[in-house]
Symmetry: C2
Subunit: 357 residues, 2 copies
Amino acid sequence: MYSQTPSSLNALPVATARATIADVAREAGVSKATVSRFLNHRETLLTKDIATRVELAIAALSYSPSPMAQALKRGRSRLIGLVVADVTNPFSVAVLRGAEKACQESGYLLMLFNLGNDSRRESDAIAALSAYQVDGFILNTLGRDAKAAAQAALHGKPVVLVDRRHQGMQADFVSLDNAGAVRLVASHLVEGGYRELLFISEPIKNISSREEREAAFRSFISESAPSAPGLQGRTFENTVNDTQALDKALRDLRLRAGKRLAAVVSSNAVMTLRVVAAMARLGWQFGVDVGFVGFDDTEWSPYIGPGLSTIVQPTDELGRIAAGCLIERLKGAALPPRQILLSGRLVVRGSSVHNVA
Amino acid sequence: MYSQTPSSLNALPVATARATIADVAREAGVSKATVSRFLNHRETLLTKDIATRVELAIAALSYSPSPMAQALKRGRSRLIGLVVADVTNPFSVAVLRGAEKACQESGYLLMLFNLGNDSRRESDAIAALSAYQVDGFILNTLGRDAKAAAQAALHGKPVVLVDRRHQGMQADFVSLDNAGAVRLVASHLVEGGYRELLFISEPIKNISSREEREAAFRSFISESAPSAPGLQGRTFENTVNDTQALDKALRDLRLRAGKRLAAVVSSNAVMTLRVVAAMARLGWQFGVDVGFVGFDDTEWSPYIGPGLSTIVQPTDELGRIAAGCLIERLKGAALPPRQILLSGRLVVRGSSVHNVA
DNA sequence: TTGTAAGCGTTATCAA
DNA sequence: TTGATAACGCTTACAA
């Protein structure tokens, strides 16, 4: 504070242009080519004497090469394009976080494009990112417009899909083991005595993760019915503002259940919040009136009612691995498309433990 | 589905290089300069005949100019660097969302750098982004390392600060009106009969928004003491894992309050969650044992206990305006540094309405 | 009104 | 081992 006199505040140094490779060459008394060699093939092909001269010049001018120029020349940018369906969704953000970390560690920078759940922008996103010569894509998109995603591949850039598959696309795919997680949830509820289950999802519309979860739920019910007498299960798709339908679905659930215990399985955090709101409207309590398990653990899950039981997705891992896969390919690995499924973890809290009180 | 035969899946077209301006020129039978003119000064300086020929060629080759090459030549990249303190913080994400939207609308792309609350990376972030020739910066950073931020200015790039000021930096600043919001919160509590208040913040360490909120709280207490008999207020800084200190602070609060009503003001969403956890540990209820208002509204606020009263920050606006300010300057506006403060809105829920039950 | 050519900051190919 | 020089894809004097 003391050292910051008013004059030092105003007299900001005039914008001083970045040093270029030519400046360094001049300073060191060598050619640009030599500087470039120092940068890229330091150990080989260089006299010690010259190397140190270049090194000094670089330090003196605090030079660092322009990634833009490098990109233009090399055709590679050390940029990774990340397209997310919706930055508002905590899942997307968590993945973003993991991916960003992995990229930073490998010296890549992330260019972000948010779709805001507008699937029409999907091809815009890929086009824009592609124009900036991103070296590869991480896509957590809507999955409707397979063609758009394919474009990326057409430009020969590697792609990693997170959470949502694209039909007919040859790409690495990183995701939660949805089927396994559903089994975890459903068998926990059945063991806890719940017999009338309702799986609630956002509109499924071809989104692979939603399809997989719903399908796994259906299979579980039909497979388990023999060994769990009285077990029934249904699925329900709820659109964003249709609170009436949601309330009705919950009431119907209890009606169907009769004396049996009823439970809800929510397919993601967004849906969970809607169910929480519905429960408040109905004046029902988790664990008393209905059991509950939701996909996606959030920081607030423990504090809603008796605590919400959830499936924890390894989101950070998902992001890291997605970025890792991509970077591996960028380093030249020519592997066949991989599918990496990570297991979810069930966290049991009060909402899925029946409580008569 | 039917049209996707196995062969069409495998026989992906070979990576076909992007068309360049030279390709277009050849196709149209004109010079590169002409194509460039069509791109940049379409209306002026061009014969109708030639213009259409170029237009056709562009369409035929589905050409779009390389932003990298343009950036290299022009020195401008249509890229905006966004540095956030912590992508995990819902506030940062919300701002990010607003900024991203505004950028997209103006044809800018966002390069993201997350500090993960590690202040040492602040200068790395700015250096990395700056190397990619971003045209400007949106900074929501830790505010410790004023020099790092200043570097950005030194390269002559405009900067917008969000939520956190940097000492001695000439830059636009966009933020919540912290003082006003604190007054809103505190007077609401006092009017509700609360007389022993505790302001709980994450460690303040020079972070301007935290300082401002705490200072405003202190002034409010001393200004209002005369007109509100028995009014007392303290402030408390809680570090991330120190649950013991937090629990003690809450117990002491009620001890001090005696028969008077006690209330907590939490300085952001992260802190709110810790208070929620502490209340659970203590077995206390919001609105009964202590009153509560927290900064930052979250989707889950309504569903914790009787609902948490909160200050809603216009986060989307903050992001939009930040990006807007920047883009305005990028268009050439040479204004003095502006300070834009947006008002918060108080949402009253059960936690700040005393309930004897 | 259009074309030629130089240059943005790199890297890579050739000679020396 | 080092240095010219051409190219990457674009814009912009300057000429025509």
